[in-house]
Symmetry: C2
Subunit: 188 residues, 2 copies
C-alpha cells in the first residue's frame, strides 16, 4: 500500500519549563501547521551547539511536550561531533548531550539529542484498514534513480494521525525523496 | 557475496589545464593513496561555490583526468542551490555549473557538477569470479539499525580495480555505513 513521505529537517521539542528558560514567558506562535493533527512549526528559532560546532536556525515544533528533545541527522551529528542513537521520540535514556541557545537564554541538556527512527504515523483503525494489525515495523519500497528498500520503519500509533512516513534529511537525500512523494509499504 | 564500502566525500577531478589555472605550474603532491589502484587524495584544497553559497576544504583526487568534475551529495546540492543529475564519472553532458576556487585562480565550469551514482569497482575477471557476468547493475543489502537495500548499484569495470562499493555521504549517513563496512550484493 502507498504512503506519503514527510521529510523532517532537524528540529526541537521542548517542555514548558525549558521553553521559558530559552524564550521567556510568552505564548508560542504558530508559523505553519504540519500534517500531523495538532502539530505545528513555531516561529521560534534556536541554535544548537556543542564544543565542536554549532547549527543555527533550528525550528521548534509545537505543542510543548513533557520532554525536551533535539532530532538531527547523521550529517548534522558529524558536524557537531556527536554520535546520537537512532530512537523513537521520547526514548532519550543515554542519548547525546547538546546545548540549545534561544533568544532569552541557553540550556544544556545532558541527554536529549537523537536521530529519529524512520516511522509511519498511524491510528489503530488505520492499521486495521491497511492490514497492518500485529505489526510494529514494516519495509518500505522507494522507486526512482536512487531507489531501494528501507527496513525497520516503525509503525507509530497514536489516537489521531495523518497517514505519513517521516524520514530525516539523510534518508530523503540518499533516496532522492521530497516532501509529499509516494512510497510503498511492502512487508514487515 | 560480500563487498567492502568506500564512502566518497565531496571531491574534485581536474584536467591538467584546469589544474594549472587553479594551482599554477606545479607538481601534484599525494596526501594519501585510496583503495583504487593508482588513485590518491592530493594535498590541494579548493572551495566550490555558486551564487547561493560555498563549501570550503574540498579535496582533489588524482591523477589528473581528461575531464574536470565535481562530485557532491544532495545535501551539498541543497546548500549550493544546485540540482545535479545522478551520473557515472565522466558523463557530464547537461550536468550542473559550478565555480572552483584554488590558490592561484578561479575556474567557472558550465557543466561538471554531478551526484555520483552508487557503484562497485570491478575488473572483468572479478565479474567472472563473483558470477556477475552480463550484469551492469546489482542490488546491495545493508544490515543494521537503518538497514535496507540499495537498487541501481552500477558495476563499474576497469582494467585494474579494488573490489569496493563507492557511495556518497548521503547514502552512508542514511544507511549508517562507514568506510570499510561490509555489505552484500544480492541480485541484479
Amino acid at each position: 500500500m502507498k504512503v506519503q513521505v514527510g521529510v523532517s529537517n532537524r528540529h526541537i521539542h521542548l517542555t514548558k519549563e525549558d521553553y521559558i528558560k530559552l524564550c521567556g514567558e510568552k505564548e508560542i506562535e504558530v508559523l505553519r501547521p504540519i500534517n500531523q493533527p495538532g502539530m505545528f512549526v513555531t516561529k521560534d528559532i534556536f541554535t544548537i551547539k556543542t564544543e565542536k560546532s554549532e547549527i543555527p536556525n533550528v525550528r521548534l515544533l509545537g505543542p510543548l511536550r513533557d520532554y525536551s528533545q533535539i532530532e538531527i541527522s547523521r550529517t548534522d551529528a558529524y558536524k557537531l561531533g556527536l554520535n546520537p542513537p537512532v530512537r523513537t521520540s521520547g526514548d532519550l535514556k543515554g542519548s547525546e548531550a547538546i546545548t540549545i541557545v534561544g533568544p532569552m537564554g541557553e540550556l544544556h541538556l545532558n541527554e536529549g539529542c537523537i536521530i529519529a527512527d524512520r516511522h509511519i504515523h498511524v491510528t489503530e483503525d488505520m492499521k486495521k484498514y491497511y492490514h497492518l494489525e500485529g505489526k510494529d515495523k514494516v519495509n518500505v519500497l522507494v522507486g526512482g534513480e536512487k531507489g531501494g528498500i528501507m527496513f525497520n520503519v516503525d509503525l507509530k500509533v497514536s489516537d489521531e494521525a495523518y497517514f505519513e512516513m517521516h524520514i530525516d534529511t539523510d534518508d530523503a537525500n540518499a533516496f532522492m525523496l521530497k516532501q509529499g512523494d509516494i512510497v510503498e509499504i511492502i512487508e514487515d
